[in-house]
């Protein structure tokens, strides 16, 4: 087997992945035409927003190994930036987008530059504390944020010359907006993962000292991962505020942050598809269990436990590792080495 065969194999893998994504996307695009149930769409939209948050968390935790238990704070920052711009300055949904992303990224930069020298559990704890501080601050600053009563904001509006389309309270427009947002974020995080940065992040995650020895500026790159993750959370916050038409501190509590980590771990850390599957699964599960009423949190907890017992790497976790160790790939690598060895001999 030679180099051509290797690329052929890679192409085949790439093609099947593309085909798979295209089929899933097609199903998602046509879904609302067959299912007009407002409640189903509503749940899917929340699942989508959670998926974006988990994709952001995946950049920090999955790629770079920075466990963040305060992702809700960055989510809140995006949502409240839109809410404040809308309520105080009357800015529209679309115009506020850059401000929401930038404010969350700036918060991530500010906070990250202070805390990123901590590692492992300590980092997790500081982010947990940070998340709670942000939530309680939002709750207590009544004059600015409306305190626990929250702020009512306007829904997005698209205007074409004299005609305008209000997104309103129906779920359908948000469904497509969220779908589009997910596609954008998936493309960004996918490109990031295979970029120089992505490879550096994985190196830092695996062994920080070794990565530093290889000439990676670990401090800067960790901060970058943190900023990207928080910017994506801010983006999700913007979407969330526009869709809800209302923001209050309750949506950004510690349980939200914890659930995001749970979604990531359940779906499979470091995997883009896993992040989305985890988010969708953990959003749908309580809804599916709804007929069981008061028993549903019990079953929810039990599913999490059982899942970790039998598949600690998550539903789609370890794909990257598995692919590298697949027998046919191993053979490819051996033959590659042999060819290389012969080349050296000559």
């Amino acid at each position: 087997m030679n180099k051509r065969a290797i690329t052929a194999y890679q192409k085949k893998g790439k093609f099947s992945r593309w085909a798979m994504s295209a089929v899933v996307l097609l199903i998602l695009v046509v879904l609302p035409f067959f299912n007009h149930n407002e409640y189903h769409l509503e749940v899917l939209v929340s699942a989508g927003i959670f998926a974006i948050l988990v994709l952001g968390l995946n950049v920090m935790t999955g790629y770079c190994g920075l466990l963040n238990l305060g992702q809700a704070a960055f989510f809140a920052s995006g949502a409240y930036t839109y809410a404040l711009l809308n309520v105080k300055l009357g800015l529209s949904f679309w115009v506020s987008l850059p401000a929401c992303v930038i404010s969350s990224a700036a918060l991530g930069l500010l906070f990250g530059s202070c805390v990123l020298r901590l590692k492992g559990d300590y980092l997790a704890l500081v982010t947990l504390g940070f998340g709670e501080i942000i939530r309680i601050t939002l709750n207590n600053m009544d004059s600015l944020t409306g305190g626990p009563n929250g702020l009512t904001v306007s829904h997005p509006l698209i205007g074409f010359a004299d005609k305008s389309f209000d997104f309103g309270i129906k779920s359908m427009p948000y469904y497509y907006l969220t779908l589009l947002a997910i596609i954008v974020i998936v493309i960004i995080t996918n490109r990031l993962a295979s970029s120089r940065f992505g490879r550096a992040w994985v190196a830092i995650k695996e062994d920080e000292v070794a990565a530093a020895c290889m000439g990676i500026n670990t401090g800067k790159l960790k901060l970058l991962a943190f900023c990207v993750g928080s910017a994506i959370a801010g983006f999700a916050g913007w979407l969330f505020a526009g869709k809800q038409g209302f923001v209050s501190p309750d949506s950004f509590d510690f349980i939200t942050s914890i659930m995001l980590v749970a979604m990531l771990v359940l779906g499979g850390i470091g995997s883009i598809a896993g992040s989305i599957v985890g988010a969708v699964a953990l959003t749908l599960l309580p809804e599916i269990l709804r007929p069981l009423q008061e028993y549903r949190m019990f079953l929810f907890g039990a599913v999490m436990m059982v899942m970790m017992l039998f598949r600690p790497q998550g539903i789609l976790g370890g794909v990257r590792i598995l692919e590298e160790f697949r027998p046919e790939n191993e053979r490819v690598r051996q033959e590659e080495d042999e060819v290389l060895g012969e080349g050296l001999k000559q």
Partner: protein, 301 residues
Amino acid sequence: MSHLETFLQQLINGLTIGMIYALIALGYTMVYGIIQLINFAHGEIFITGAFLGLAVFAALPSTLHIHSAVTLVLIFGAAMVGCGLLGVVIERIAYRPLRKAPRLACLITAIGVSFILQNVLMLIWGPVDKSFPAFFKHSALTFGTLRVTFMQGFIIITSLVMMIALRFFVTRTMLGKALRAASADMTAARLMGINVDKVISICFLIGSALGGAGGVMYGMYYNTISFHDGYLVGIKAFTAAVLGGIGNVPGAMLGGIALGMLEGLGAGYLSSAWKNVFAFLILVILLLCWPSGILRKSRNE
């Protein structure tokens, strides 16, 4: 009331709640010290203790006087034994199979267990707040304008006794030695013939029993308990454990007391709405400047 007396009063109020935090923090720190797991379910175990105490109180015959020592002993006994066993069972079912799994997997399991416990509490005792009986007549020792209620005195003294007993157990008994050995190096401890699984079970037993006692005290002090109280108090107790240096038993005691006092003073002098921010602000600042806690983890060589 002079400034000094106000200060002392806040300090005493803070000390009382600090003692409760310390008791709960011990559970977090013992478990973390030995298996490096943030046991998220500990907050729920703590509030289960309060509910067990309440259940026993309701089941007691009315001939028993509410203020009698027998009632108190029965309630504390039930809460401690119940919670201790609960802790052991949880460790056995949820954490033991994951001993070799990645750390995050254990964290997720702990969150799952915490959801389950919360749900069970809600199913048994209902979603509304339950009132907890006041065990002491509203009498207090007064020093000038300074008031120390009997309840506060009882909480402070009982917690102190429990902590001293724990300290004695950890430093003076064979089992305590095994516990310290396992937390220093689990593999080496196993090679020395220590049954590490048993030691971990004991760790959960003691930590959860202390948490249960803390739960009863919490109920007595605040007079209402709700099934979701476990989470916030749990997080604060965890902060206390970090404050003292996680994995460090005397540190958790000091951390709890320090956190309670800081919170009491903050709530008294600044604003009670920001009370919870203090705990987290302390957590963040402390971890940034002083990540090993007040007492550095010292190992007996």
